[in-house]
């Protein structure tokens, strides 16, 4: 493209952020100087970024020519995706800064022996999860450090001659950052401590060296292989003055004291990769400890109340919690929760808080377990009571990735999803439905009965648990007549077992208001009646929400709940809500479904239209592609998706989502109640 054509295109793409003083001429000239392929790359990504933010697209256009001069395509992609990630997480300012920082990516020219974060992220996540006993967040970033919530690792490592060695550096870095958190490096504000020295960079390097010396023996207890590499990194630089750091009782305070002592008098050996400090490490850690302490207190209070009710009138028990914890040689923590000296099984929410606090503190101080009772209410710290309230609601948020088809990349932890209780509706609805459809329900039950995995007796078997007397008589007659005795003389019971679990996800978006909602509820009533006959395991969940921050799932019937009055109440209580961000709902529910042990796992969606959400581009291609990606993930996890829709436009997009055969259109809403059960029957026989 020539400059003029480019400028026209840029004017069009960046129009909203141009002004009298900000034109596109210089941009067009710079881009025109690039190779054709690079030009296409830039224009394509401007279009993509436009959908997130025009200003960011402009900043990209401005940075791209210089960046593409020095970066090859892989590196440029990494640069760009990192910047978009930053924008997603931290906003325009950070995104812009990341775009300008392309120099940091020059080292990562396409290199056959490189190791990249993208390539190894999953293995590193599992690795760290094995160390910590719980999943930790890992992300790639320009600076290798930890803020105690997340471990930030380089996006690419090329300093070693082989890919295996480069990967090894990742492993060692991840282990070191984990160990900093596990063994209390950020109990002190190290970034501030280093900043107080005349040369903060040198101070940081020295302190990180000292901390590494302190952490190495701890790491050696669990992972001698990694500790050996760390020792090799220190390159024999052992100073007698550092020896006390290897003692088991050494803490970060010892490292800080040595830093003061050695500052200016000691040169730490160069490292293959430098670990830095995050300015917020200490504050995040403290905030987390504070929050979890509050949550733990609230949960323990609840637990105590439950115990006292169970115990019935045993009021004079002190209600005092205690924790026996011990640290095994390998650094893993074990603990027992006790109430008045008796061991107590900690509910999951409690256990999670305790384990997390143990990771941060090494042990749980006694005053964290005090039952503050009324005192706490009186002091009434608003903020903490807010978090406590949320915690006791007991529904922790789930985070799911979302597929961005334009970036061809996941947006990490993009959606926040919660399970929300449904208020029971008017149960006369159920009776009315059953009365209205009585003959059809009978009919359905009969056809479902025919499918039931019942015991049948197989005759004339080679072996079995009983004798088939007809066969024996025949055989005797045959024998008398000189015919050889047949071998099949037994009967055997055979159970045609249906090893199937089905999860129905029901669209509760606003567009179902009126007829559709009623038809959905009727369909569920009929379905449940029929399924009870069949004995298949099934669950029902509604889904809706507004924006990625508030995806909601409404459990109607979980797998382990019987079809009872409470479930019927919730079916009656299904009401139209907001939008349909399908991807997150599918990811959540296919996780639920995968946890059920069954040969076949069926995920059936009842839907009235395309995926859609409030104002953030989920409508259209983006939503469809994310939904498709979520369905593919479900498929990989062994879930078979199927869709029942009433959208007459379904033919345009459902085959793309579910394949040609895995969906059905019910063309009249009023048929839905009968059809759903029938379709299920056809699907599962």
């Amino acid at each position: 493209m020539d400059v003029k054509a480019l400028q026209q295109r840029l004017d069009y793409l960046l129009g909203p952020v141009l002004s009298a003083r900000r034109g596109t001429e210089a941009l067009a000239q710079a881009i025109a100087a690039l190779e054709e392929q690079q030009q296409a790359f830039v224009l394509h990504w401007i279009e993509v970024i436009d959908r997130s933010n025009y200003e960011l697209a402009y900043q990209f256009a401005a940075a791209a020519p210089a960046a593409l001069q020095r970066l090859d395509e892989t590196a440029a992609r990494t640069w760009l995706l990192d910047a978009l990630d930053r924008y997603d997480r931290e906003g325009l300012h950070s995104g812009t800064r990341a775009l300008q920082d392309h120099a940091a990516y020059t080292g990562i020219a396409d290199h056959a022996q490189a190791a990249s974060f993208e390539q190894h992220a999953n293995v590193l996540r599992l690795f760290v999860c094995g160390l910590a006993g719980r999943p930790l967040q890992l992300e790639s970033a320009a600076v290798t450090c930890t803020d105690t919530d997340t471990l930030y690792l380089p996006s690419r490592i090329t300093v070693m001659p082989s890919a295996a060695e480069n990967f090894n550096i990742y492993k060692v870095l991840a282990t070191l950052l984990w160990a900093q958190n596990r063994f209390g490096s950020h109990r002190s504000d190290l970034a501030a401590a280093c900043a107080a020295y005349p040369d903060p960079q040198y101070a940081t390097a020295l302190l990180m060296h000292l901390e590494t010396l302190r952490l190495t023996p701890r790491i050696a207890a669990a992972l001698p292989g990694i500790a050996r590499q760390l020792v090799a990194w220190q390159n024999g630089a052992t100073d007698a003055r550092c020896a006390p750091l290897a003692q088991p009782e050494a803490t970060v305070e010892h490292s800080l004291a040595l830093l003061a002592d050695l500052y200016g008098r000691y040169e730490p050996p160069p490292q293959p990769w430098r670990i830095m400090l995050h300015t917020e490490a200490r504050s995040r850690r403290d905030a987390r400890v504070q929050r979890e302490r509050g949550e733990l207190a609230a949960l323990l209070a609840q637990l105590l109340e439950g115990q006292q009710q169970q115990g019935g009138g045993d009021d004079d028990a002190a209600g005092r919690f205690s924790i026996d914890s011990s640290t095994a040689a390998d650094g893993s923590a074990e603990y027992t929760l006790k109430l008045d000296g008796r061991p107590l099984e900690a509910p999951r929410a409690v256990a999670e808080r305790i384990e997390s606090l143990l990771q941060d503190l090494g042990e749980i101080p006694d005053d964290y377990l005090l039952n503050e009772g009324e005192d706490a209410d009186k002091t009434g710290d608003d903020e903490s009571s807010l978090t406590v309230g949320e915690a006791s609601a007991g529904n922790p948020p789930f985070h799911y990735d979302e597929w961005d088809c334009r970036r061809r990349h996941y947006r990490r932890h993009w959606c926040t999803l919660r399970e929300v209780e449904l208020k029971p509706g008017d149960s006369s609805f159920i009776d009315a439905t059953l009365a209205r459809y009585r003959p059809q329900v009978q009919q359905l039950k009969r056809s479902f009965e025919a499918l039931r995995g019942e015991d049948r007796r197989l005759r004339r078997q080679h072996h079995g648990d009983d004798i088939d007397f007809d066969a024996v008589i025949d055989a005797r007659i045959g024998l008398r007549n000189g015919v050889e005795m047949p071998e099949r003389l037994f009967t055997r019971r055979h159970k045609a077992e249906r090893d199937l679990a089905a999860l129905f996800m029901v669209d509760m978006s606003g567009s179902t208001k009126g007829w559709i909602n009623e038809a959905e509820r009727e369909a569920l009533v009929m379905l449940c009646e029929a399924l009870e006959v069949l004995g298949d395991r099934y669950a029902i969940y509604g889904f809706s929400g507004v924006t990625r921050q508030r995806c909601e799932i409404y459990p109607v019937k979980r797998f382990d709940q019987p079809y009872d009055a409470a479930v019927r109440g919730r079916i009656a209580g299904i009401t139209p809500r907001d939008y349909t961000r399908m991807g997150a709902a599918i990811r959540h529910l296919s996780t639920v479904l995968s946890a059920v042990e069954a040969r076949t796992r069926l995920l059936v969606t009842l839907s009235d239209g395309k995926p859609d959400d409030y104002s953030d581009h989920y409508r259209g291609e983006y939503g469809i592609e994310d939904t498709r990606q979520a369905l593919l993930e479900a498929h990989h996890a062994g879930v078979r998706p199927f869709c029942i829709t009433i959208d007459h436009q379904a033919r345009d997009y459902l085959p793309h989502l579910y394949g040609p055969a895995r969906w059905t259109l019910v063309d009249q809403v009023e048929k839905l109640p009968l059809k759903v059960a029938e379709i299920y029957l056809a699907l599962s026989s």
Binding site: N122, L126, C129, K171, A222, D330, F559
Partner: protein, 277 residues
């Protein structure tokens, strides 16, 4: 002229009553030996709970030896019916012959009867287990119209892994509440090292590395693995190492591949193995 009965025999006579003459190696994990003896002395049936490969089978062999009773083991599978346990008629030379099933034989012989992984069996097996497991201690042999009274030496033991069976496959409360339960967990690190060393003859350093490896994999339970490495797998790896196979290949073959098929998980497990030695 007769029906070929070999497949039938092999199906219903899987477990001969075994008298265990040599003391099996068993490393107690807690007070389970005393508990088991007390339960047997009171004619109470026992339920062994715990993850796979943590020593349940070994324990029961040890107890059979200690109590000097024959042991009959039945590995339950999803096709196992009450008739498989109680017995059935066979046809030989124009005659019907009754053959006792393993449970009936155990009752008659006053043996320890160990039903391994009971939740796998058909639901109808509870019909014969229930009357045996409460204070009646009776076994109805319906087809012969017999009602056997179990002698005091007879002991019924079930095993059950609460870990990875879904809620839907849980043991019914009416079954559960008939049994004295003994819970097996993975042994403490030092005990587990002792077990590995005695079973494989490996040195202390190898055993301790393997136990640390196991700990890392157990941390991944629920985050990519259904179950962490059991003591059994550690013993397997140690035995391979003792035969001169390198630690990393031994751990890959005996542990990683036994836990997962997922390529990224396998790589992670290999990285663990590379780091613990």
């Amino acid at each position: 002229m007769t029906a070929t009965l070999t497949p039938l025999h092999s199906k219903i006579l899987p477990a001969e009553a075994r008298i265990i003459e040599q003391q099996p190696y068993y490393q107690p994990l807690g007070d389970e030996v005393a508990l088991f003896e007390a339960a047997c002395a009171n004619q109470l049936p026992v339920l062994l709970k715990g993850p796979t490969g943590c020593g349940k089978t070994r324990f029961i062999e040890y107890m059979a030896w200690r109590l000097k009773r024959p042991l009959i083991t039945v590995a339950c599978h999803d096709d196992l019916t009450a008739a498989d346990l109680v017995g059935r008629y066979l046809i030989t030379n124009n005659e019907t012959t009754w053959i006792d099933g393993p449970l009936t034989r155990a009752v008659r012989a006053g043996a320890l009867c160990y039903l391994d992984e009971i939740v796998e069996a058909r639901r109808d097996t509870t019909v014969v287990i229930h009357p045996l497991a409460d204070d009646r201690r009776m076994l109805p042999v319906e087809k012969r119209g017999e009602l056997l009274q179990a002698p005091p030496e007879f002991a019924l033991v079930l095993s059950y892994n609460p870990g990875y069976q879904s809620v839907l496959k849980d043991l019914k409360p009416s079954t559960r509440q008939r049994f004295v339960a003994i819970e097996f967990r993975y042994p403490e690190a030092a005990t587990e090292e002792t077990i590995i060393r005695s079973e494989s003859g490996c040195d202390a350093a190898t055993a301790s590395a393997l136990v640390r490896l196991a700990q890392l994999t157990r941390n991944l339970k629920g985050n990519g693995l259904d179950e962490g490495a059991s003591t059994r797998l550690l013993v397997h790896a140690a035995k391979l190492i003792m035969r001169g196979v390198s630690p990393s290949s031994s751990c890959h073959g005996a542990i990683a591949e036994a836990l997962s098929d997922d390529p990224e998980m396998l790589r992670t497990l290999d990285e663990f193995a590379a780091s613990v030695f």
